[in-house]
Assembly symmetry: C2
DNA sequence: CTAAGATATGAATGATCCTTCAGTTTTGGA
DNA sequence: TCCAAAACTGAAGGATCATTCATATCTTAG
């Protein structure tokens, strides 16, 4: 949809003085604010600069164009999520099926909820620019980590850990996204917090059962 | 984010002659095509008109503005999905838990896959304009239908059918969306087709188990 | 066949926006 | 203190776009 040369998307220069670091940070948060209050379609370089208390030219000193700015935001946010999930999986290594299922769900929810604002903002960018490359890179890492985590579950043998991991990321990512985009109904979030861990557990129990007769042994 | 007077979003007039009906249809499909090839951000009234083989003015005879055009597209697509799901739930009334779970999953997949193009296009619109009202209306209908469907399952008592229905729509809608947006990898679709029904079944079995001791009786 | 209504045209308008760059201000080391 | 590098400024260029409206063409009832 939109695949410009990659050099055109990287930041122009890194801040050397303290003040410019502050500026970059200001631009960063201003972008997210504008993204939320006005939407991607109304996100303007001028508007961002204004909100950041900076002139447009300054913005272009750090980002070669608007898209680069947005990509930087996405990348940072994606990194946050991925590392959060990676540390979560580390902590779950070797735990039983129920702990793993619920651990993954709550870790994901926590990571997303920690910065609902940024998360929601990113969903907006995704529509306008082609983020599939960035997203896929993150997805691959996650699927791999979860897959090996599933292999290490002591109380269950999952038939196809890769498929299961793939499906888990789709379930986690998708459901949270849908609910977040739908609105701010605190009710819905509460339900999600309650049901998402169950959904993960239910799915894992099922794919763990399949090869041999089902017993649904896991903790209950 | 974007909440204009509703009258400004309704079509201006309905075609009276055959030729205008053709025109409207052409505009409709052209919009989707442009949406896919260029993205929402590059969707231009001129571009749409060109693609439809029509002049810009013609477009404005039927839609008061660009947003109205996009809303019309979304509404139509949403209707398709909802009615598809409603007929599916009708057919599942009274069936056992496994049939219901798998029936819902495959119905959803079928509805979305039937017109991947339009579905994907809509995901794009969602970011730019506030579709939460339209989406919510559809969601409410679906949740209600699924909830009552769950109540009628003979071989299981679901503790909180409303929550379960809510969660099911989130799982279905979210996972399919995520996979569709990620790219066109046929592999992923295949996995989804295989795993989504299981995910639904696993979740339902779990929430059906909970109140009293679990036995995981359902068909296997 | 004809007029009235329906439909289509597309240049012009006015607005918005991204990006640049010549010039100014600030910083930090010598 | 002084200056070269680093940061910052914002008006202006150049491009795109949504929307309008005066005009032209088509359709159909009578």
């Amino acid at each position: 949809m939109n695949r410009p040369a990659p050099d055109l998307l990287k930041p122009r220069k890194t801040p050397r003085q303290m003040r410019s670091a502050v500026t970059v940070e200001a631009i960063h948060t201003a972008t997210i604010q504008v993204l939320l209050s006005d939407g991607v379609g109304r996100l303007t370089t001028t508007r961002v600069a204004e909100r950041a208390g900076v002139s447009v030219g300054t913005m272009y000193q750090y980002y070669p164009n608007k898209q680069a700015l947005l990509f930087a935001i996405v990348e940072r946010q994606l990194d946050l999520i991925v590392t959060a999930m990676l540390t979560a999986t580390e902590g779950l290594e070797g735990r039983d099926l129920q702990s793993v299922a619920e651990g993954l769900a709550t870790a994901w929810l926590e990571a997303k909820m920690a910065d609902v604002v940024s998360s929601r903002a990113i969903y907006g960018i995704a529509a306008e620019f082609d983020l599939s490359e960035l997203m896929n890179r993150a997805k691959v890492i996650l699927v791999e980590a979860i897959s090996s985590l599933l292999r290490a579950v002591p109380d269950a043998r999952i038939a196809d850990p890769d498929s299961a991991a793939f499906m888990l990321t789709a379930l986690l990512g998708g459901s949270v996204r849908v609910v977040m985009e739908a609105g701010t109904a605190e009710d819905d979030f509460e339900r999600l917090r309650q049901e998402l861990p169950r959904a993960c557990l239910g799915y894992l129990q099922l794919v763990a059962c399949e090869p041999s007769g089902c017993a649904c042994r896991s903790g209950e």
